[in-house]
């Protein structure tokens, strides 16, 4: 990227000072643990909805989605469309109001009420390991990108990000996270929209853009045909504007993975069971606000691929020679944006980065405080002491994230891949216990615990067996025939967990009716004031 002007730095500085100021102002009003972890249950739907979207899209996602669109086409948009919208709508009317009414602070807490403390602890451990590792990964990946864009050293970028996000998250808790996310959502969408509009204008308009994609696809098809004729392989080229790709296409997004893995399992597991996502709707000021936030988020989600993935297609036309898709966005910014606007996009990039890290910090701190400290150490802890513990844990998590990101810098890229696959290890089993617990009275605690543990072990076994050194030593073929089969891990882990829960539940004594009362969903209308 070309160097930044004074105007660019001024725009970035204004954004950072504004975010920090707002976070600290909100922090000055926090008095209790309930204020800190659930924003005093006063959050409005419009702020939560925008925060949901901002949390879901990190800086790595902006660059990665644009890059994937450049390499594999529009199919990457499935992650934001069918991989979000239907699950968010169902969550809005079925699951979220149920959680809000139950008054829990964390999803593992619901698991203890419904099943037992073993299920709560197992789920909490998985989430805390995932979030803690992910904090380091996000910090490092974002610092590497900031280093390219801002010209600062990677170390300095890690310290700067951790300091800025840490200050307002430690101070303001969930309320600061949600309200700063809201601003970050506007800046993020605005910045990406700018790249989209200028890119289409640069290509001569929408019709010319479409024609240019077809022309570029034709060029690539001819090139691939010539290569395939030499090597004797069949033509596997798929359209760059297709959302639905064949099951045997050479892409990480075949329709089977997208439909069965993403739309039916990973997406509902994420929107219903991810503590970082659900926590903000638990802080809604009413049940209606909790529902409306998810619907508003679903509406916004329709827009996200347009501003994030379509610029990748613009780069596909403008820079077809790029071999690293992750360079698509930086190249577009260098070529399209004038001084000042370049700063606005980088502010959007920082916004995306900060909105994800602050959410994971706050949610990880909530899980440690409620599911470990309060549950096992101080059951009678006062609200004020929980606030102190929450802030201390958030501070320690910031230190951990810094340390872990430096540790990752010294490791090979393989470590990255393992941690990025962490979520796929336990999301399927977590969704299985959530679904059976919420919808099936007969599901028992022992069945849920065994189903969850076996499901997690099964997905780890699938991952291990699919590693080249392992299957080569064992003299086997790889289990999956696509390069990044994490969607398939989730499907199989879910199927194994779900089946075990059903079978073991029938073999074990049912939970007493008084234990499950009010904890299993029924579609009885319930009016609540706005």
């Amino acid at each position: 990227m070309q160097s930044l002007s004074f105007l660019d730095f001024a725009v970035i500085a204004a954004y950072l000072i504004g975010t920090l100021g707002l976070g600290l102002y909100i922090g000055s009003k926090i008095k209790t643990g309930a204020d800190y972890f659930l924003a005093g249950r006063k959050l409005p739907w419009w702020a939560i909805g925008m925060s949901l979207v901002a949390t879901d899209i990190g800086a790595v996602d902006i660059v990665g989605t644009g890059g994937a669109a450049h390499q594999h086409g529009l199919a990457v948009a499935n992650f934001e469309w069918i991989g979000c919208v239907p699950a968010m709508i169902i969550a809005a009317f079925v699951f979220i109001p149920f959680f809000w009414r139950s008054g829990v602070t964390t999803i593992p807490e619901y698991m203890e009420r419904r099943f037992n403390v073993a299920v709560r602890s197992a789920l909490a451990v998985c989430w805390i390991v995932f979030m803690a590792c992910n904090l380091g990964i996000m910090l490092l990946a974002s610092a590497k990108m900031m280093h390219v864009h801002l010209g600062m050293s990677v170390d300095a970028c890690i310290y700067l990000t951790a300091f800025l996000v840490g200050i307002y998250t430690i101070s303001g808790g969930l309320a600061a996270v949600v309200y700063t996310d809201m601003i970050q959502c506007v800046i993020m969408i605005g910045g990406c929209l700018l790249v989209l509009v200028l890119g289409i204008i640069d290509l001569g308009g929408i019709e010319q853009f479409h024609a240019a994609i077809e022309k570029q696809e034709q060029v690539q098809r001819e090139k691939e045909l010539a290569q395939n004729q030499e090597s004797g392989q069949a033509d596997t080229q798929v359209s760059h504007t297709a959302l639905i790709l064949p099951a045997d296409a050479d892409t990480p997004f075949p329709w089977t993975g997208i439909f069965f893995g993403l739309a039916l399992i990973l997406s509902p597991a994420y929107w219903i069971g991810n503590q970082a996502i659900v926590q903000r709707s638990l802080g809604a000021r009413s049940e209606f606000d909790a529902k409306a936030a998810y619907v508003w988020g679903a509406l916004l989600k329709n827009l996200i691929p347009v501003v994030v993935a379509v610029p990748g297609l613009i780069a596909f036309v403008k820079f077809p020679e790029l071999t690293d898709g992750d360079q698509a966005f930086p190249e577009l910014i260098s070529h399209l944006l004038p001084a000042g606007l370049k700063g606005l996009f980088l502010a959007a990039f920082l916004a995306a980065l900060m909105s994800s890290i602050d959410s994971y910090l706050n949610s990880a701190s909530t899980i440690v405080t409620h599911d470990f400290y309060k549950r096992f150490y101080r059951r009678d802890a006062s609200d004020e002491s929980l606030l102190k513990i929450g802030r201390t844990v958030t501070f320690l998590l910031v230190l951990w994230a810094i340390g872990f990101s430096f540790f990752l810098m010294t490791r090979s890229e393989g470590i990255y891949t393992i941690f990025q696959t962490l979520m796929a290890f336990f999301q399927g089993p977590a969704f299985a216990i959530l679904l059976t617990g919420l919808l099936w009275k007969r599901a028992t605690g022992i069945a849920a615990f065994i189903g969850f543990i076996v499901g997690v072990c099964f997905s780890i076994a699938l991952f291990t067996l699919n590693q080249e050194p392992v299957y080569t030593v064992l003299g086997m073929d790889p289990l999956f025939q696509i390069s990044e089969p994490f969607l398939y891990f989730s499907i199989w882990a879910f199927v194994v967990s779900f089946s075990l829960i059903v079978i073991i539940s029938f073999l074990t004594k049912p939970e007493p009716a008084e234990k499950t009362e009010g904890l299993v969903f029924s579609l009885q209308p319930k009016r609540t004031p706005a």
Partner: protein
């Protein structure tokens, strides 16, 4: 070859020949099913108690989000 390979190959052999128009119908059918489910939700579940305006009914906005999806998956 482990039993897992045999199961995988069997499922792959089942899904690979499915034509893409059938898959598109599956995607659209899922979205339409959710759309109809939202339309059939009781009004009490989608509006606040003291609602006075049409736009306070979440059903409208949920249906709009799903309708956009249906259009997108019909075209691309």
């Amino acid at each position: 070859m482990t039993p897992l390979h045999h199961i995988g190959n069997f499922i792959r052999a089942l899904v690979v020949p499915i034509p893409l128009w059938c898959v598109r119908a599956l995607f659209l059918g899922t979205l339409i099913a959710v759309f109809i489910w939202v339309l059939r939700l009781p009004r009490e579940n989608t509006t606040p108690e003291n609602a006075t305006h049409w736009y306070q009914n979440l059903k409208i906005w949920a249906c709009l989000a799903l309708a956009i999806q249906i259009v997108i998956y019909s075209i691309f």
